[in-house]
Symmetry: D3
Subunit: 230 residues, 6 copies
């Protein structure tokens, strides 16, 4: 495993294949999470700061200290067009680590959006800029620039492991991490899953029951489900 730690910046990271990232960007988080085998989901307390926020890109990872956003400035230099910044924190901290000025800077570097296990502010501006942010809180409280964290080390963000270059996808259903090596495979599995769902959708819309479509009646009866008249 790549070494983690405090006080480190890694300028050279391996990003997921851009074609696989583009392919993944076609799918929703719920679909991708299923297609991956149901791993890699962040905790649902991360929520979009403005409705319709959505992002998909390789991760520049950040490890923040509580109430301190210095490493976000360090991360800005590591952003390549299309990247997503993923910021974890060494502890639970809901201060406003990020706002409109940093969003302006990140966007100028080509950043697609932010996932942060912390708070953000200037939410009206972020909505107006249409800059996608997934955060655990909104908080006007600003931060200091006093203590080192790291950039582009593996981090655990909202209970999910994220390595630099892994693909992070977020929408209204949550945030999922696709290991960079698996990006193409997961995109293919997502496509297959979605194709499969379309025919199910049509049958359900026509009134067929899942009980019949999925063949559930037998297994339910075998486990003892009983239909009672009172």
């Amino acid at each position: 495993m790549e070494h983690s730690g405090i006080g480190i910046v890694r300028p050279s990271i391996t990003r997921a294949d851009p074609k696989a990232v583009a392919a993944l960007s076609e799918f929703g988080v719920a679909t991708i999470h299923e297609a991956m085998g149901r791993v890699g989901l962040m905790r649902p307390y991360l929520r979009p700061v403005h409705p319709k926020a959505r992002l998909c890109g390789p991760a520049v990872t950040v490890l923040l200290q509580p109430g301190d956003n210095w490493m976000l400035h360090v991360a800005a230099e590591q952003i390549r067009p299309g990247d997503v910044v993923v910021a974890a924190c060494t502890t639970e901290s809901e201060d406003g680590f990020f706002g409109e000025l940093l969003a302006t800077s990140f966007r100028a570097q080509g950043c697609q959006g932010l996932v942060i296990d912390g708070g953000v502010r200037d939410v009206a501006d972020l909505a107006e800029m249409d800059f996608p942010v997934f955060a655990r809180a909104v908080n006007a409280k600003g931060t200091v620039k006093a203590t080192l964290g790291s950039v582009n080390v593996p981090v655990v963000c909202a209970n999910a492991l994220v390595r630099p270059g892994d693909v992070v996808v977020a929408d209204g259903d949550g945030v999922v991490v696709v290991p960079r090596e698996r990006a193409a495979e997961v995109a293919a599995a997502s496509a297959e899953r979605e194709a499969n769902e379309e025919s199910k959708r049509a049958r359900l819309r026509a009134g067929e029951l899942g009980l019949d479509m999925y063949g559930m009646r037998g297994p339910l009866a075998a486990l003892g489900l009983r239909y009672e008249d009172r």
Copy 2:
């Protein structure tokens, strides 16, 4: 009391009188809760998944197991046009029990909406379908189909007792349960309450104080409220 338990489906339930349900559908949750004598309210952690969601109908009740949505498929068969599905869980579980495919199926059966003490996903699709859902969480995590629960037994959902056929009303203020036997009486009391509020509203809008309109000055003084100049 009707027996509760695991592994039971009751196809024959007594729904509240449709006229009473229609009458109740004219009122907000806060009004109905007051008109009932302030009982029957679910905990406020249930929130609408998309703004303007609103529903009113007889309950098809479901008892789920954690991380398992099998019984929602069993429930689909028990839905009659206008019904609301109310899903409790044997424990606290915020997984995504319900999404766009089940919403398609439920709507095809005539379901008006869902109240669930659990999580849901595909929230952008649910909003686009305008399918009303009141839930405790949004979560991309899917569920399995492995363990029996029940359908149409009395359940406790978000701290309120719901029997099959009881009327469930939900809007932006919360979710309230009206026992089926009381539906007509509560609708009448709601109408009375609302009529009564209209005249109060006009007087308050004209600048009359509640202190005077409600005759509060005497009782306040009797309890010792004192007006001080510093």
Copy 3:
């Protein structure tokens, strides 16, 4: 310090200078909080009940008892045009202390909006009336009128001290309290801060890094930040 306590109403309060209030109303909560030296912020659990809510005005303070909104009626009489009502509670209570009827009354008295460390209801009506409310919960549960609290005594609301007449500013980023004596000074500091940010914004938008603009490279290196190739 002004004495606090239960069962007291103070009709004569000293409001912040209206010019200073008007000046403050030009700035966002995050800016004002920074300009004050990062004190006076309420806890971030207070959230706007409808998007785009925003308020700025001198506080009429209320100390509520749990599940009892009597003192809001007492407060209505103390409102002067432009005031904001700030309601604390002697304990944590998320009942619906405030709804559309009280909003109608408050507005008739000239009230600009409400900040409440408790719950509110009739949220669809409040949105339609465009009456700004910042609250800790939405809850259809009504309240009684049985126990005395106070009006226009110093209160602690969501962990911030508010004295009657202090300026309260709220927007999507949170709620901040400016002591009435500091209102003009804080407005001036806010203006200065905002002017200063405009030039930074332009440089960041042009691609300059915060690392360079703020001169961070030296201090980071001094603390030992190291750039590693793997």
Copy 4:
């Protein structure tokens, strides 16, 4: 179902058979909950106020109003020796509804202990008195006596339905409700379950694996569990 509502006291209730209560008192909450078929458990936020608290008895039920303990005094008169008082609240309220004076009164009436979906105080005294209390919070904040609730109506306490006379059992693992009609049956099933566990315990202690004792290897393999060497 027995009617619920506000402002009612029912002096005549049907308590579970004392022999069944005595039989149930031999078992832990986890065992009883399993023996009942895994229903009837209160939410785990109810915790014993002092370690080793344990109780088992028929319920005198109380419906409290927030911040108001009047109905606990009304309930005291309804206690018969061996009863457990179960206090729900019309809303979430963590004030200190109960303390050493009420415990003295309850004990004088023969009460075995208290389960309350609210707060309590005087916890050092309660421990010294060895009076078992299961509560959601400890809070020095006292309550008023101003608003009616009810005694001996069905209540929902911490998400479980409790009717007067039902058996309530609580220990360090939680609180479970046994419907009075099922008390004897559940006691018998608990005894059977416990007997069955003793032989399992011995085999596990001797080093036999659950995989073998429960015959799990086949079903696990059938579902596709694979043992990998790296």
Copy 5:
């Protein structure tokens, strides 16, 4: 009001009269809170780190920054024998601000104990030292020494205002703040209250009901409480 702010230490504070502090130390938090008229209580999330912790003394106040305990070292110099350190934070932060080394230092200066709206660590050592600590969390995460806060300015700690020199009393029921000017009066009222409770306790122990002792039957009937036979 005394000015608050960041970056200030006030060596000269006015402590409550030592006799009044000694008198208050005889009473529990619940009694003192009642005797004060039910104001001044901290939020109940502050809990004793080890059982039987108890403290009563004049406050040395501290305003911390998140994840930064520098000001606790500054505060150590301001401690006089018998003082209690009360540490608020500019934001919610549960890091371990305090442990055994600081407890050793504080005790050497005569400190009686700590109340902190943050986390602490070394809890086994603190218990062994019998050093009373009331905190919101236990957390092994250490803190930095990088950013200024203040010492001996008024702070809001767990939603209660504390000025330097005010008396802080804490036990298993919670933490209450007595303004230094009211210390003697509140001690006297506490003594009166406790004397009054002794006779009530005896009557309740003898089986008299609160309904009769407090004369509640009339008021309950007046509000409409009805006793029903089913």
Copy 6:
């Protein structure tokens, strides 16, 4: 990185060097976390189920499904004497995954204790057995055996990455993970840190201030801390 996923058991894992594990077992969690450079700490919501619980050993990792403890039985076979079982879950789930029977089985295999991001039950028995458990909840609710998870894959438990064989140390201050490769180095750094603290403790006990001992007065003054007389 070792691959993670569902439905996998890895019998051959590399455990940390036993000498390093033994060395680490001499130190507390707070010390080890500092010695590691302040990484690897689990979230503080994991708490010991009985006081004085403490453990240190190589991890057998488990990935559970919500409400399903099947994989704990699979894990039992993988335990070697001295191991600690670390159980993560694919979602937040507070059911009682573990109780006295499994503890009996784990102990028979040589297991030292359990760290689980979930609930446990039979807590009185666990205390009596003196079997150390660190969990997020106590819950009598049992679990099923229906869905595959994994054993000995890397897991994220309470926001910390744990690979099989890493050393997990837990005491009353929390739970920390030491990567197996770093175990000896961290033990050495812990010893050094502890030696260093002993001399500080003595000086602080003698009344020397941290301000002087750590040379803080200069840096504080440089940042502008000012001592004010009122």
